[in-house]
Symmetry: D2
Subunit: 342 residues, 4 copies
Amino acid sequence: MIIIMDTHATESEVESVQREINRIGFRPFMNPGVERKVIAVLGELDVRKADLVDQFKSMDGVARVELISDLWKLASRSYHPEPSVVQVRDVKIGADEVVVAAGPCSVESERQTVELAHAVKAAGAKMLRGGAFKPRTSPYSFQGLGEEGLRILAKAREETGLPIVTEVMDTHEVDLVCKYADVLQIGARNMQNYALLKKVGATKHPVVLKRGLGSKVRDLLMSAEYIISEGNQNVILCERGITTFEDSTRNTTDINAIPVLKQWTHLPVMLDPSHATGHWQFVGSIARAAVAAGVDGILLEVHGDPSHAMSDGPQSLKPENFTALMRQLSKVAAAVERTIQI
Amino acid sequence: MIIIMDTHATESEVESVQREINRIGFRPFMNPGVERKVIAVLGELDVRKADLVDQFKSMDGVARVELISDLWKLASRSYHPEPSVVQVRDVKIGADEVVVAAGPCSVESERQTVELAHAVKAAGAKMLRGGAFKPRTSPYSFQGLGEEGLRILAKAREETGLPIVTEVMDTHEVDLVCKYADVLQIGARNMQNYALLKKVGATKHPVVLKRGLGSKVRDLLMSAEYIISEGNQNVILCERGITTFEDSTRNTTDINAIPVLKQWTHLPVMLDPSHATGHWQFVGSIARAAVAAGVDGILLEVHGDPSHAMSDGPQSLKPENFTALMRQLSKVAAAVERTIQI
Amino acid sequence: MIIIMDTHATESEVESVQREINRIGFRPFMNPGVERKVIAVLGELDVRKADLVDQFKSMDGVARVELISDLWKLASRSYHPEPSVVQVRDVKIGADEVVVAAGPCSVESERQTVELAHAVKAAGAKMLRGGAFKPRTSPYSFQGLGEEGLRILAKAREETGLPIVTEVMDTHEVDLVCKYADVLQIGARNMQNYALLKKVGATKHPVVLKRGLGSKVRDLLMSAEYIISEGNQNVILCERGITTFEDSTRNTTDINAIPVLKQWTHLPVMLDPSHATGHWQFVGSIARAAVAAGVDGILLEVHGDPSHAMSDGPQSLKPENFTALMRQLSKVAAAVERTIQI
Amino acid sequence: MIIIMDTHATESEVESVQREINRIGFRPFMNPGVERKVIAVLGELDVRKADLVDQFKSMDGVARVELISDLWKLASRSYHPEPSVVQVRDVKIGADEVVVAAGPCSVESERQTVELAHAVKAAGAKMLRGGAFKPRTSPYSFQGLGEEGLRILAKAREETGLPIVTEVMDTHEVDLVCKYADVLQIGARNMQNYALLKKVGATKHPVVLKRGLGSKVRDLLMSAEYIISEGNQNVILCERGITTFEDSTRNTTDINAIPVLKQWTHLPVMLDPSHATGHWQFVGSIARAAVAAGVDGILLEVHGDPSHAMSDGPQSLKPENFTALMRQLSKVAAAVERTIQI
């Protein structure tokens, strides 16, 4: 349920409504960036819905009360009809420019990372991605450099000015990762790690939330709702392929999810063609498709020497291929009235 | 196994090789359109492979003998490295132009069909699609107008010049449908109806072969192989969505299949965003994505009055939306160095 | 919609109702085997539903009129509350005994088939299965012996008395296969080959309808409806595994489908653990599970020399393993108050 | 790689081998419960494999060196050929008795929980399951009673003697949950929460590891490997349904996973038919199937008043239905030479 206040509602009228929401056992949530105050009433409404609508309608300063039928409330277009823009330093995600974040799967060394950062920046990338804490299927695989990896990323940012996106895997690492990262990444395997979502929701850090391999679009939105309802509205969704019976690619890119998400939510949407295909030869085609379909950003793995990468080599582009791809993406963006500056 | 003949091989040397292939229990298949003769040896090679390579290598006029590791042979890029172009009257599928085939799901009446044919032609469609024999999940749903529908399609072709694509559902209807149609469509539910594939393979009619909802890319290629190995090389593949756990759309568009198919086969590839999404609101986004990903054609459902369509109304575009979409597709095609003339 | 006639309704009252159903554009379908006449009204009811209920209610001899909300009508438990029993010679499928049909994937020779028939009969099988027309993914794989295979099956029946189950793949083969087979099998790939379903529906032959790899339970029931609505009520459903992301087995057995089908339809239900797993080592476990879950029959591949089978060797049981399995299945059947006589 | 020591190997020979493993950058892991010492060498072996085998073969006291081709090592049957038994107080999981753990989805009150505990114990359950920390798709759904729920579970154990199984959702709750629980449950959504797996692996508490909805059997084993390689061998695997296109049930029970897991790993395997079906009417059929397929345990939701349950009501059995089911399961267990004492 959302309560739309009158344009002339006084602060004390707004406070009365909020107090009443608290009193009856729900949580009020104020949408800040709009002309007139909109208050979301959060909690399980169940059978009392109709009564509550009437109750709030009759309060002073209330213009309208509406039920939101979606299961997600704060992430819904009904609550927030305009597309959201998430600001990361001077980069805007969800605006005209389609933002490309590129970099290595794993941070392997300072030299590798700084060199790659320069290379992807030169090609037009606006953010640097790279993993310091790596969720690996096998406990015997390289698990990432940890805090040393974060320090290297910060160094690369210092040298290039690119904001950095990096994964956080556990609640106890959130504070540490926040010290270094501009954007926290929640990986696919942790999409429904609710403790982590809440902890990240309690920060104000922008978050890239990757869709779980077996998760529906609606589950992705419910996970976003966990973050937003803790007070952090800087959520960017990321499609990265789902598991299906098809085995010619590592995962199946759910390209349909792009227009579905653009209709169902105001949050910006990215796509990660590296994980969604698993083969660098297919990455370019899917990146172009994603831009044409309407994404707000692309997350791409690039590596100077993919055959010796410590993780995800087969799906990493070489810098020269990345540069060529950026030129193509720029043209596709223009064709759909977006921009990619290269 | 393929046998590449010497450029100077005589006709009688070629015939000797073919005779030998027959003698040892396999079928020879000649690739016609290339400079030097290439003969495919069809059948289960099993353990005798190595011996056979040596045997044929030593024959007069043979330049090289190669094993094709793909399960599909005639559909493979190894056998036919250049992309194939399927000619339908004056339309070329697989060439620079991305061919859009549009029209109603079901042929409902002559007036509806002819009007729509004019409308989609005006917007830039190069072929007319429409169903006369309809495979419907329920026996109680409208099953199509049958031969009357075919006559209406032929009338629409007469008036507009657009070649027609229409489905054939059973072996005993193949001759009838061939009398009217320019392109035979094999529907997703019949992708592994091998009797139908063989019968259609025995015609020379161009075929659009739609991928089954639960079929892998490799199964689609094996079904194409059934058609080609009967002598019909005019096969166009069509991705139209697969079944997955995601339920926000009718099916899940496997956009990855586009670059995979372009790498694995020389056959032209289309995509049907109407069935692949099931909602007209999402069709435009996915059509743009398909063109950006590299398809050779798009199959689209258009209807003058979708809410009263006898089938698939929710996924049909209105003519005015189709016209707007064609303008966008034309720009995306140009961005990826293809064309759509509107 | 179903019309339940009064127990004392006269023949002419029943005929009036049928005439009226025809007059208004629907098809009447009479449920024969019950005490009081029940007439199903087949066709797309759409918006006229409520009026029609009233219209028929007021006719003489009509006791009740009910809408069936399921999409399948004649296959529904609402229309036919008691479980159906399909009779194949002296074998009853859907009664207390869980019927095991066993035999080779492909009929390879008379000797192989007759020997196997004796072996599986000795172990307790009540029907012989074997393929003469084989749907193979590759056109270069063994396609079955055709009519010669049917003759061999008939010979094996003559020698053992076991009724035979064999696949029919195309409308033009239905008459031929009917001459030999006791039960027609519609394979998974043809589950939505509607021309074939209709043709088979026009015979009175019992049919085993296998679920498509990408087909929902509700689609399976709609395909059964095609057969029944043509007048053939002898339909047996068969779960044989669906396609999912799991790749440790050939397919994923949808064991949930057993209780779902038992609740939704009156038709007997079988399960084919050979195709559902693809590995003979797992067949026994899944066959036991199926009996415990409540199936009416099991379809099993058995081969005297699996490593040299012309198809499906890896999933075929040796006769000695089949014999051991039958003893286990017999115990599990007893535990769930069914029988398997060995 | 595993190193099998000679039966007469001295302690110092064993220590030498362990030291050498450490020296070259791997981790030794000793299998304790077997007659002769077996040491697993953990880490990414990559290209050095062959050399290492030779190196260790030549050391004193070493009988044999074997490569394990599975990706999971400590969870593999090659490393530990005999089935493992996990002991929880006086309950053995993985032995002859098929262990049933039953109870409410959520702990709602002391009275509810204690009453249910008595009821399920009377019916034959050997463990009590119940959630105190609940992973819910929506942030607005009931999230569990937290520590109060754990206290209630401990109270129910005190009164009935039943060991308790309860979920832990985050690393920072592990110590707390360990204070109360006999078995830690890792939920499906956290199956690849590697930080949590490691933390739980550092305790010696028995763990029920539930399979993720989009996770392959091999991923489940890799997650088990995370726990075991931290030193905790008390891992029980649990199949609870996967996501597929089928929508007649909440999830699709992967019954094939039972024989696959029994072949691939020595760890005990349970099945949760409540989540795997989502409808109480189908739970009995699938529970019987699971026992017939060979599980070592069943996890079941039971509730005194399902229509008012705070979570998962539709899939919860009433106590009287649970009692009836236990009688059936006991018979099925006997049919497959296992026991369920009721």
